[in-house]
């Protein structure tokens, strides 16, 4: 029983609750109302009640959180509203795991503002030069990609357009220190698969890198609204590992954060394939 039961009677909410996405509604109900207020939650439930029963649910959720459309992230009504992290975060390197295609797409978007972008067909060539295996971290330079970003003129471009989910390693200087296998990161961080559930989470080619957050960017704890239509997420401030790796790692190992995207020049490591 919750105070939101009356809002959850609509067919749309009931369909979600009975599906593999049911956790997203539960996350929202349970979320700290200091940050995601009762009225914000009601806004969402009323919005869901207006769903036409036909259009794509994932897109429908994304549209809600994208409000007002076309505005900067700082002006969004529902995103990036969690607890602010204190200034000590700026002295630490943080880690980011990104899908390879997402990283490449953002990179090419940035490059297209300055140059005539290469074709997607050339992703593989880019990957071969700039993406390294975890075992090569100590014998390769982190400068190569930064040189590329500098010489192509994208060093001061944001590395993506949407909010950036990041994690804090066990060591402030070396994000990857203490992780038995860097390739386990998608599992340790409980990352979603192609449809934001845990299914096929390990089928998505991904990369990881570390970076500093510049002081003008506010770092926050993610909320259920930041997670949106993503049932793998759970509240509490730490990433929840998938079952497959919970025997090797603590279920909640890493602090997770969300903030506006950093710039290419803030990257401090190589781009590592995982």
């Amino acid at each position: 029983m919750s105070k939101y039961d009356e809002y959850l009677k609509c067919k749309c909410c009931q369909d979600i609750l009975s599906s593999e996405y049911g956790q997203v509604i539960k996350n929202i109900i349970d979320d700290d109302e200091t940050y995601i207020t009762e009225s914000m939650k009601i806004d969402l439930f009323l919005y869901l009640a207006r769903h036409d029963g036909i259009s794509d649910m994932m897109q429908y959720w994304d549209d809600f959180f994208d409000h007002p459309k076309g505005k900067d992230l700082s002006e969004k009504t529902y995103l990036l509203k969690g607890r602010i992290i204190d200034n000590s975060i700026y002295n630490k390197k943080l880690g980011r795991v990104s899908s390879l295609t997402g990283f490449m797409r953002s990179l090419k978007t940035a490059l297209s503002k300055i140059t005539v972008p290469i074709s997607d067909f050339d992703d593989e060539a880019f990957t071969e030069i700039f993406f390294i295996e975890p075992e090569d971290i100590s014998n390769t330079s982190s400068q190569l990609f930064i040189d590329y970003a500098n010489d192509t003129g994208i060093l001061n471009f944001k590395i993506q357009q949407h909010p950036m989910w990041t994690f804090e390693g066990l060591d402030d200087e070396d994000v990857y220190k203490g992780i038995k296998k860097i390739k386990d990161l998608p599992c340790i961080l409980g990352l979603p698969g192609p449809f934001r559930t845990s299914s096929d989470y390990n089928k998505i080619p991904r990369i990881t890198f570390s970076f500093f957050v510049p002081k003008y960017i506010i770092v926050r704890k993610p909320t259920s609204f930041d997670a949106g239509y993503m049932p793998v997420w759970c509240g509490g401030g730490k990433a929840k590992a998938h079952k497959e790796c919970q025997s090797d790692y603590t279920e909640f190992l890493f602090e997770e954060y969300i903030h506006e995207p950093v710039l290419y020049k803030n990257i401090t490591s190589q781009l590592i394939k995982i």
């Binding site: 794509d56 994932m58 295609t101 140059t115 074709s119 071969e128 190569l144 010489d151 192509t152 192609p194």
Partner: protein, 237 residues
């Protein structure tokens, strides 16, 4: 299946769907799912839907996203390629920059997959692409001859943004042609760059890739008596 139908509908009907960068995230999530075959939809269905989308008039940004979607979904089937080849007879024929870029994107898309069905002679007939979308034309040319690419880039090397466009392509050239050919190319471009700073950037890239240029290569060239290196040596001196 409903999700896919809605999505295809969205791309077809929403003018902004292909250009709103934030809005592209779900589009590429769908592409990822199609590629990974985690969605129960047939290639024939998507092929048909994409052909319908293609009936719309694209601008270059939309077209670029559309081609990326096909690429990331791995839907670049023969049926689609043949349709794109056929469309070249009727679309993007004007001499404007926008049409040249669009046409260039389509030609590049075809050549990357099937250089054997699009001849180098046909590429040389695409004068508007060569003139108005020269780096896309160079990308196309790189599927036939690196020596021609070297010459073509040399003619553009001192234009604004040329070095940036070149650096963007270095990974591709390295993969396609190998270090030895790229070394020859870099020496040629280096010798023809007028701007000192641009030359320093290219020199740094040669070092990054363990390719020797500059004095050492000029000296090497002098010993070998290769005329075009003399220019490089003189500029260095």
């Amino acid at each position: 299946m409903k999700k896919e139908i809605d999505f295809i509908k969205l791309i077809k009907e929403d003018k902004n769907a292909l250009v709103n960068k934030e809005g592209l995230k779900p589009l590429f999530e769908l592409a990822e799912a199609i590629r990974l075959e985690t969605k129960p939809l047939t290639k024939a269905y998507v092929e048909k839907s994409l052909c319908e989308i293609e009936m719309r008039i694209f601008n270059s940004e939309e077209l670029s996203t559309y081609l990326s979607f096909i690429y990331y979904s791995k839907l670049d089937t023969d049926t689609l390629l043949n349709k794109i080849i056929a469309s070249l007879k009727t679309t993007f024929l004007s001499n404007t920059t926008e049409d040249s870029v669009c046409r260039g994107l389509l030609v590049r898309f075809i050549i990357e997959r099937k250089p054997d069905i699009y001849s180098i002679q046909s590429l040389f007939k695409e004068s508007s692409i060569r003139e108005k979308a020269s780096w896309i034309w160079i990308d196309c040319l790189s599927h036939y001859s690196f020596s021609l690419v070297i010459k073509e880039i040399t003619t553009h090397i001192n234009e604004e943004s040329a070095l940036k466009n070149l650096i963007v392509r270095i990974p591709t050239f390295l993969k396609k042609f190998g270090k030895d050919d790229l070394r020859i190319a870099i020496v040629e471009w280096y010798a023809n760059i007028e701007n000192f700073r641009s030359r320093a950037i290219l020199d740094n890239w040669a070092k990054n890739l363990n390719i020797k240029v500059g004095m050492s290569i000029s000296a090497e060239a002098l010993i070998n008596n290769v005329p075009f290196f003399q220019n490089s040596l003189m500029q260095h001196g």
